[in-house]
């Protein structure tokens, strides 16, 4: 039953020669990107330091790593806390999902294979922001992360990175626009292809403002206008993302991204991962409606304040 989901596809090696393969096309002649795809992966964003500049595994190394990575991991092995359900019991362990394999040792391309260090400015900015919320993390819902509040999750990007489970997306395409829906956590990116400029600088969006164009058979999507609550590896409203979608075989889209933000990193950096065809469907992920956890967290904090008051006789100033 589960085995049918274990799809292993997609050697997407950037260095390899273009395959002699013609993508299916839409009536207007563009490569057809439509359908259900998964970006679940066992390839990390950053390359483990011990691998140095090694960008690709050999087939033997890849097979060995794959074998180890697909052993179900207990919560503790995943780095979770004790107060946590076992992922394997809910089918959330990656050994139970279709995986988009690649030979890469990291999503980030190039000899460094890691996110560049934050600039001094970015370190200071982020430290100040963290300091402002320190001690107030549970004052109210606004103090909680946008992820915990079910507003937008980090995997949604762009760049779109695998969420760890339920890693599925659907692409729908017309001559005028492309729409991408990610199962987690339900948002749809609608990307105009008609050449219109980005929205004015005062218009800010959770997933940024995306504009697409075709470069040959590759869909290129440029995204700006993020919010000041965006937090992609320390980058915020000045994040600029360029994504490239290229169908490389019947079952695979090569997904590449480049991010830059001079207020956060000294240089731009890039990554890639395969999107592997899935039979679908995408299921509803109505995050806010079932988000009892947020209220439970706040109630837990209130209960602790009461207990502390009873113990010390002092009222919490907050």
């Amino acid at each position: 039953m589960i085995g049918r989901w274990l799809v292993a596809m997609g050697l997407v090696a950037a260095a390899s020669a273009p395959p002699a393969w013609t993508p299916p096309r839409t009536p207007d002649g563009r490569p057809d990107l439509q359908g259900f795809w998964t970006n679940a992966t066992i390839t990390p964003l950053e390359r483990p330091r011990e691998l140095g500049a090694k960008e690709y595994y050999t087939e033997e190394e890849a097979a060995e790593y794959r074998k180890k990575a697909l052993v179900p991991l207990s919560t503790a092995e995943r780095g979770g806390t004790e107060a946590h359900y076992e992922f394997t019991q809910f089918g959330l362990d990656r050994s139970q999902a279709p995986i988009a394999f690649s030979m890469r040792t990291s999503m980030i391309v190039g000899p460094e294979g890691r996110v560049p260090p934050l600039t001094q400015e970015a370190q200071q900015r982020n430290a100040e922001r963290a300091a402002r919320n320190k001690g107030h993390e549970f004052d109210g819902p606004e103090n909680r992360t946008i992820q915990e509040r079910c507003i937008v999750w980090g995997n949604e990007g762009p760049p779109m990175l695998p969420p760890g489970y339920n890693s599925f997306l659907q692409i729908v395409q017309t001559p005028a626009s492309v729409a991408i829906m990610q199962e987690m956590i339900h948002d749809v990116r609608i990307i105009p292809l008609d050449g219109r400029p980005h929205a004015p600088a005062n218009v800010r969006r959770w997933l940024g403002d995306s504009r697409g164009r075709w470069e040959g058979d590759t869909l290129v999507v440029d995204t700006t206008n993020f919010t000041d609550q965006t937090n992609f590896r320390g980058s915020r409203e000045n994040l600029h993302v360029v994504e490239r979608f290229t169908r490389v075989d019947d079952g695979t889209i090569r997904y590449q991204f480049t991010v830059d933000d001079p207020t956060t990193w000294a240089k731009a950096w890039s990554g890639e991962l395969p999107l592997v065809k899935d039979k679908g469907p995408i299921y509803e992920y109505a995050c806010h409606e079932g988000n009892y956890g947020l209220a439970n967290n706040l109630r837990g904090a209130r209960a602790k304040e009461k207990a502390d008051e009873a113990k010390t006789g002092k009222k919490d100033p907050k």
Binding site: M1, I2, G3, W5, L6, A8, L11, I42, T43, L45, P48, Y57, A62, A63, Y65, R66, L70, V71, L73, R78, G79, T81, A83, H84, Y85, E86, T88, Q89, F90, G91, L92, S95, Q96, M103, R104, S106, F138, R144, Q147, E148, C150, P162, P163, G164, Y165, N166, I185, Y283, A286, C287, G290, N291, Y292, G293, N296, N297, R299, G300, R302, A303
Partner: protein, 132 residues
Amino acid sequence: MLKRVAIGLAACAVLLTAAPAPAHHAFSSEFDVEKPLQLQGVVTVMEWVNPHSWIHIDVKNPQGTLNWMVEGGSPNQLLRLGFTKNALLPGMEIVVSGYQAKDGTNKAVGRDLTFADGRKLFLSESAAGVQK
């Protein structure tokens, strides 16, 4: 029962490190590791909702019956694995090992979930843990 189909085209790379951290909220601020508990009760409702499923169970004790809410994982992958809304119905008896919510109410996270006879709630021997 578990059929292993199609693993592998050419090249498959894997990394053990940097496993994603998909929990969407801070478990340790919602549930209290100092309050471990074990509950045995009868299912009254299974909420197949995101971001977490919630199982409601009636737990009998000498003082009467208390209804507890138990948090679990996102149900979407369970649906993909073939489970349906009939997988866990009112009247079924289950055992929950977990931790109580920090707000002190009758809520808990279900760390391990089994039927009364010890079988895993959602996963049989043929599912997780045996796939290689």
